[in-house]
Symmetry: C2
Subunit: 308 residues, 2 copies
């Protein structure tokens, strides 16, 4: 990575006065720790982190990015760095880290607490983090990719509400707008699929929480559902997923440059069930990987072009 | 399973008038469906469902219960019924189903929506469901097992709050008290480890949400943390985990007889980090499996003793 004399390098920030007092910091859910692993040696060169729900998909991504950057090792099967646990999976190639986060805000928040501490302990700088996921679209052709402008909650408010010591704490869900624009531009250059920028609704449930008619419980009508989704669409919501609010809030607090790129698997105005074929589903799921892979490659090439 | 003429068999209830109108019901996150699988043939005999966060632990449980019931097949490696997805894992032996649910309320709620529909489609009756998990204890020796009396939220209220179509819906978190008492009695008979009954706090976050001092962010003091945990303890809270509220609310709605049995890995009044050895941790994690395995075996024997 090129470094210029005058460039300010941005660290990964933790906000915890107690952390420095720990004899060792055990990143329990990642099966890593400062007492057992040399984190600066293992992770100090990380510049891009991609996160997504499924462990299989995040392994697929590391294989894709290795090929994209021309640094794949045909003998390597990209071992899972977090093999000591089955909670999350982590893969690394060059300056790119790929981590799974499971489903929902509580699951991603544990992973992000430990990932942010990991990047901090490893003294990483200038880190860009992108969530590559799946979502339900509103009024979009399935397969359309959405780059999130702003993450809003189920009441369409762009905030992340948390209970801390039983008290309500509200945090901003701003993402890096410049990064979102660069990703949108990259998709245009690629020209392989349609990508739009819009708001993303983040919910705590997939069925009732997103107004689906096919859960075990549905105590509202189809008309209620359509009213709700139409109201969301009118507020600029292009898609619905389950992690962006915590992701945006936590990345902002730690100074990470963050974006959310999700493919849409269904148009929720037309249906709820995911009944497309496995092959089509897989090709839609690959789109955020292809877009982010292209963007990362472009960034690395541009940085290498800066005189050292 | 013995059936008496006069016994009323309790079905698994869905509350969704739209479900009957579906041509097929795709249980997407379980990679199962009514159009692709004969659910009554595959699952119709299920009487006990055990759920827990980790896929590895739920596979361990099915091996344990198979040995306990004397119906293990030395040649079988207990294939994952949900192998088509990496979101959840499911194993079955005899009348016992073992399913993983990931971390947190959003993750368990997707699994439960699809599991409840599965049990309904399979026409299962008289199903008992038990969550076997891990938790942080309050004022308990690590390794103590807690059978949940009532699940309370981070404000110590025994309710589960959800946003449905953007509106707040509040549901009860009652569990089956008779089942909890039977489990406590079973632990006394077993005599292998200490088990208590108490309230369980269910949070949306592991670090700030549970007052930990070792997350990436901690904007409160150690004194604030202790005040909060002491207040919880005074309200009868014995342990803290991240799924019981949704589990209790959803099982109650579907008429499932439900209990939560969690081991405690740390006494939160004394510390936050999970720094016990892997072997001790593993032995603590096995305790809910041992207790629930013993209980299920006893139940099956008692039912077999009823004249047909």
């Amino acid at each position: 990575m090129g470094k210029t004399k005058n460039r300010v390098h941005l660290p990964v920030i933790v906000h915890n006065p107690y952390l420095g007092g720990l004899k060792e910091d055990i990143l329990y859910h990642l099966s890593l720790g400062t007492g057992t692993h040399n984190l600066p040696a293992l992770f100090g060169d990380v510049k891009f982190v991609c996160v997504g729900g499924s462990a299989r998909r995040m392994k697929e991504f590391i294989e894709h990015i290795a090929a994209e950057l021309g640094i794949q090792d045909p003998k390597s099967n990209y071992p899972n760095i977090c093999a000591g646990t089955d909670r999350y999976a982590m893969y690394k190639v060059g300056p790119v880290l790929s981590v799974s986060h499971g489903i929902g805000i509580p699951s991603i928040s544990i992973m992000l607490h430990e990932l942010i501490k990991l990047l901090h302990h490893a003294r990483c700088t200038d880190v860009t983090i992108i969530r590559i996921g799946t979502s339900g679209g509103i009024g979009l052709e399935p397969g359309t990719v959405v780059v999130t402008k702003q993450s809003v909650d189920a009441k369409l408010v762009p905030k992340f509400e948390q209970l801390i010591l039983g008290e309500l704490v509200v945090r901003d869900t701003d993402l890096d707008y410049g990064l979102a624009e660069e990703l949108l531009r990259s998709s245009k250059e690629l020209g392989q699929f349609n990508t739009v920028m819009g708001n993303t609704m983040c919910t705590l449930d997939f069925y009732e929480g997103q107004g689906r008619l096919d859960g075990a419980f549905c105590l509202y009508t189809e008309e209620d559902k359509h009213k709700y989704l139409t109201k969301a669409r009118e507020a600029g919501v292009c898609n619905i997923e389950m992690e962006s609010a915590a992701f945006a809030a936590m990345c902002k607090l730690s100074g990470l440059r963050a974006a959310v790129v999700c493919t849409t698997l269904v148009d929720r105005l037309k249906g709820d069930q995911l009944n497309i074929s496995h092959d089509v589903l897989h090709s839609y799921q690959q789109r955020p990987q292809i877009l982010v892979g292209y963007y990362i490659k472009k960034q690395i090439k541009a940085r290498e072009a800066i005189p050292k």
